[in-house]
Amino acid sequence: MTDHRVSSFIDALVAGRRPKKFRARAEDAEVLRTAIELRSARLGDAIPHDKFVADLYESLTEQANSSIGSNVRPLRARRARGALIAVAASVALIGGTFATTESFDHAPATSAAISVPHVGAVRTGTFEASNGEVLGQIVAYNGNPSWIYMNVGDPKLTGTITCNLQLKNGTVVAAGTVVLHQGTGMMSKSVLVDIHRLRGATLYSPGGTELASATFA
């Protein structure tokens, strides 16, 4: 009976299926281990699918949000709310009030109106590549805590890009990451820093190459 189950286990491995549970004998261990080693030598499955990596990232983001209050948002939510963030940042620049939603993690689950900052309480910058191409915008809002909003859009870009902030004293602040989908992505994040100490921001590719930089006006 066990030999049959060992054979079924091996058949499943060969076919790329998940093997069924069974109560194996200790003497089967070496054969099963050898079968696993031989199967893992077949190239292809040893590399994770992009979809698995992206789905797990999204799942972990939700877990992080619920357990440690991180302001990283699920990818779907980011995409859906990207336009709202951009609009909100723009409205913040021209005055008036805007209604916030849970897109802004500093005000979770609230729809109360927030007073727009005074002129001077907001600083903006445009991400430009070395060839002058505009890749996105960044807005910093001074408050308690302070906030940054940024969006990036370039059809040529894929994957997760990193944003660092440079302070006037030369210190580099890791602002966070943006996961791009179809070349676009956004991020909103609270930071305990006076935005008047900010000098600029830089975007880096997953491989660490500088993509674009912005200087705060």
């Binding site: 696993i36 893992s40 877990q63 357990s67 993690d105 890791a174 966070g176």
Partner: protein
């Protein structure tokens, strides 16, 4: 990335409140950086231990879900990887307890550290092909051929039998004997 040694890293201390602090540049900025740097290698390690994608994906997910909460981001990259490997060791041991009743394969956080620390190269994601080639090279021709057909060329038992011009029953017996001999050869190569 910037070469500035004084890197300030953000740490969320309450919902929506992030503190900035100076950290060792050898550390990770946030859990996303931990994920990006280790997901590929951890999956490959798990795949090498279970031999199938479905289990490798589930176990890799379990490692990250388990490790994420208690993860200390002020630790060095080496310490974070060691923590991930220790978690992976427990997750894999639990998997074998549930499925077969004993640990068929295992993870040793010390000896497997190279799996996470080594650069990730998609062209050569694992040394499993080299190990398998050594084992197979030590087998008689017919034993080697049935294992190559089944494990490396993804043939069904029927296809393997046809390729070797033998009956399906003979192919099953041949595979059974070949696996036992390969297991012995593998043990001898380790010594």
């Amino acid at each position: 990335m910037p070469s500035d040694n004084r890197v300030v890293r953000s740490r969320t201390v309450a919902r929506g409140v992030t503190r900035l602090r100076v950290v060792d540049p050898d550390g990770y900025a946030d859990w996303e950086a931990v994920y990006r740097d280790n997901i590929d290698r951890l999956y490959r390690l798990m795949y090498a231990r279970v031999g199938n994608r479905a289990d490798a994906e589930d176990l890799t997910s379990e490692v990250f879900r388990t490790a994420l909460g208690p993860l200390r981001l002020d630790s060095s990259k080496g310490e974070v990887r060691s923590y991930l490997l220790t978690t992976a060791q427990t997750v894999l041991a639990s998997h074998w307890r549930r499925t077969l009743g004993f640990p068929v394969t295992s993870i040793d956080p010390e000896s497997d550290m190279n799996s996470l620390a080594a650069p990730s190269a998609s062209e050569n994601p694992t040394d499993a092909p080299q190990r398998a080639a050594k084992v197979l090279a030590s087998l008689p021709d017919r034993y080697r051929r049935i294992l190559e057909l089944r494990f490396l060329e993804a043939c069904s038992i029927r296809e393997a039998a046809e390729a070797m011009s033998i009956s399906i029953s003979n192919a099953k017996v041949l595979q059974h004997r070949a696996l036992h001999m390969a297991a012995k050869a593998g043990l001898e190569l380790q010594q």
